[in-house]
Symmetry: C2
Subunit: 478 residues, 2 copies
């Protein structure tokens, strides 16, 4: 492998082929410090041509490649296995915004651009790039594309696949596919773009993308609502979609249990509603007219729902500071509260919205039957049917006891999701942590089609091996 | 082949295996009567299980299959070749709406459901299915999916791929993939759904789909605007997107030349604006509040644009009848006028919106240079960059003379589209009529990836052969 390393150094320069453990450690451990991989080297190409060159070199040496963006993924998709055979390819230096076209409402950016930088660049051009998620200060566009990232604005703007018009990709052969089209309609062949998006670097390496921009809303308006049951929240979601139209850009729900963790562990977080209701929703209107119109619409739609008895209580953010406090509840306090509670078992799931009430009832009952006392901590993006359904330890027990049951609890939750027509990974992807579960929940027909795609695009199996696709039908775990 | 025919009769019943020319003729000629194919038989399975059974039978006999929906396609994608070797598989009997889920805003329908029926079923459930196009009274959901259909509402709701959440597909092996998920977020593997959509039956046969529904707008409001140049129309599009938000559901443009054909050939069509401007736009607001709000928004946004000098003239539809008359101009009169003018050479193209002015100027100049007197008749969906750029004969010449230059004119237009970063098929697909052109405009890398996909999913080449993919690198025509 010294041959490969010296060829890589020749191509990229010594400074961009890292082998000392002090230099590589941050790339080889996942964000949560749970997964530790090894690599022959961490390489940092400067541009697409260099990415193609190193793919050809690695291919000649039959050396696997693990692509990595901001290394913020939750499923271990960017962490190499412990064999040390692979090269870790960081896209971090491909960090240029290549073009902004306001008349076409598009931006073209390289894979290593940080999401927040892209949002800022769009904003400076008087446009909105709507993808928004917790890791936006460090995750990159390439990772967002590789995992088809979601976040809080999917209700209105869709996920990353919906926001991408064109891609530039380095194939497993080390060729460059220039698919950087800025077109909203293009029916000239197979959907290569959509296939590479969400494939987590297993079919090709995304090096740049042309993405959709939207007009900046004139004003954003947030409010916290309370509901007596999840069915009321769902009925109001339907009324809100009709009444607000596409101005409804977020509909986040938080269960009473989840809010209770915040009250207990993050007392400094303001919660401007009387507690004790079953569910809460943080909604956001993005209005194209202004403050007065947003307020009037809110009063009309929510006022009617209060009269109808659907909404039990409501409070609106009267200032930017109050609005930020509401979103801090959702974006920070909820996470901190779960950590301070000792951590829990996380499940990023989605369901048909209509089946969420039955799922919640059935899953809570099954958990109590098999793991008495554990607490479901549910919150998420009701508008897309995406729940973060986390399971916390029983109050009289310990987190350690909970984690000892991790496999069985994951299986119980995922079995219930599957039985209710849902997905075991709504927005975090598969990576290495959920690939075994695919064998349990995907049909043999679908797995066979996926394997054919992998074989067609990466016959040597060098692109991010051990990710997404289960190895073999004998590996079954939830 | 008598073996196959008797096996098909055994499986489907004699009445659904058609071989008499009186029975098969309508299936073997494309909608415009330009393409004539032959087939071993026209078969009409009743359900997905029968589709899978006939695919397995045809596979065992190495017999190609041409799937067909409403047979309204413009590119010959559903017309078999003249060899008579293939079986034409009509999906027309798979015409059930399987489920409507208003809380999840989804509808599940079989491939043979006519688009207008689906729109009606959604409407009865108090929901909108937004795909809308000229052939909606006879085209089917399966064909809409196979060609990733577009239409007039893409600006707001996206094309058919954006409207589909899940699919049921019969593979080339005759297996059934049940991917009928009603989920807005699902990141559990490769984008099979998006790959089958738009593949025109060459990778698998779509038998059913779960599709997105939207709230019905409270009111729709249409207006006709006039502009002194295309740049003004583009600048106003940007202002309208910001000012109307997602309420802007259509932005159709019509050039002066195109409108002139209507004036001349369809005098009964009302055109409620003084002629003589360079471009006209038919815009539609879908308002979630009501008539008064839509009118006030229209006056605010268009009033400002008139003050700014962007909009030269404007008239609003004051009644449903006036609104229908405006849309009749776009949907019927334009087509009739072109027919009465002797027909023309049609190009369904898309461009980055920002490059449309340069494209129009450069293409018109090149046409005049090489084909003096021919008239570009341009109209289309400016909001998506999708133009129908048709070329009519020179006034002193004849349609026949124009059609004699068809190949050269197509090549000139498509070369210009390609040079301006556009697509030679925005919403009509490739079929058999544009497949040769792919060799001219697609990179070898992209064609190779497409061929790998075809090989992976249909190694025997039995699914709709001769469609989408060019046969060989020697076949080059525009």
């Amino acid at each position: 492998m010294e041959d490969l390393l010296s060829a890589l150094r020749h191509t990229l320069g010594d400074a961009h082929v890292l082998t000392a453990s002090g230099d590589t450690a941050a790339y080889l451990t996942d964000r949560h410090g749970r997964l530790h991989g090894r690599a022959l080297a961490v390489i940092r190409p400067a541009d697409t041509v260099q990415v193609a060159a190193v793919v050809r070199l690695c291919r000649a040496h039959r050396t696997p490649i693990v692509p990595q963006g901001g290394n913020t993924g939750l499923m271990g998709g960017a962490t190499p296995d412990p064999s040390g055979r692979a090269v870790l390819l960081s896209l971090g230096r491909l960090n240029r915004i290549r073009a902004i076209d306001p008349d076409n409402d598009t931006i073209t950016a390289e894979a290593g651009v940080v999401l927040a930088q892209l949002q800022d660049a769009a904003h400076e051009a008087g446009r909105l790039f709507p993808l928004s998620l917790g890791a936006e200060g460090s995750c990159t566009i390439g990772g967002n594309l590789g995992t088809n990232a979601g976040g809080t604005q999917v209700l209105r703007y869709g996920n990353m696949r919906d926001l991408a018009l064109g891609l530039e990709v380095v194939t497993a052969d080390g060729e460059i596919w220039d698919g950087l089209r800025g077109l909203r309609k293009d029916n000239t062949g197979y959907a290569l773009r959509d296939l590479f998006i969400g494939s987590e670097g297993t079919l090709g390496i995304i090096t740049a993308a042309t993405l959709k921009l939207y007009p900046l809303p004139a004003v954003q308006y947030s409010a916290l609502l309370a509901f007596d049951c999840i069915r009321d929240a769902i009925a109001f979601l339907s009324q809100a979609r009709a009444g607000f139209g596409a101005a409804l850009t977020a509909f986040e729900v938080i269960s009473d249990t989840a809010l209770g963790l915040v009250t207990r562990h993050v007392p400094e977080q303001a919660i401007p509603l009387t507690p004790g209701r079953a569910w809460y929703a943080l909604i956001e209107l993005s209005d194209s007219e202004g403050e007065a119109h947003a307020r009037a619409r809110f009063e009309a739609v929510v006022g009617q729902a209060i009269e109808d008895g659907l909404v039990a209580d409501a409070t609106v953010a009267e200032s930017l500071a109050q609005s930020q406090a509401l979103w801090a509840l959702r974006d920070q306090a909820l996470g901190v509260a779960q950590q301070r509670d000792g951590g829990n078992l996380k499940h990023d799931i989605s369901l048909p919205v209509s089946r969420i009430p039955d799922f919640l009832a059935a899953t809570a009952a099954a958990l109590q039957r098999h793991f008495p006392g554990v607490r479901p901590v549910a919150f998420g993006h009701l508008g897309d049917g995406n729940l973060h359904y986390n399971v916390s330890h029983a109050p009289e027990s310990t987190p350690a006891a909970l984690f000892a049951d991790e496999a069985a609890i994951n299986e119980l939750v995922h079995d219930s999701v599957h039985a209710h027509g849902g997905s075991i990974s709504a927005e975090h992807g598969i990576g290495q942590r959920k690939r075994g579960a695919l064998l349990r929940y995907k049909s043999p027909v679908e797995l066979a089609l996926m394997r054919r795609l992998k074989q067609a695009f990466d016959p040597l199996g060098l692109l991010n091996p051990g990710k997404v696709l289960p190895d073999s039908p004998t590996e079954i775990s939830p």
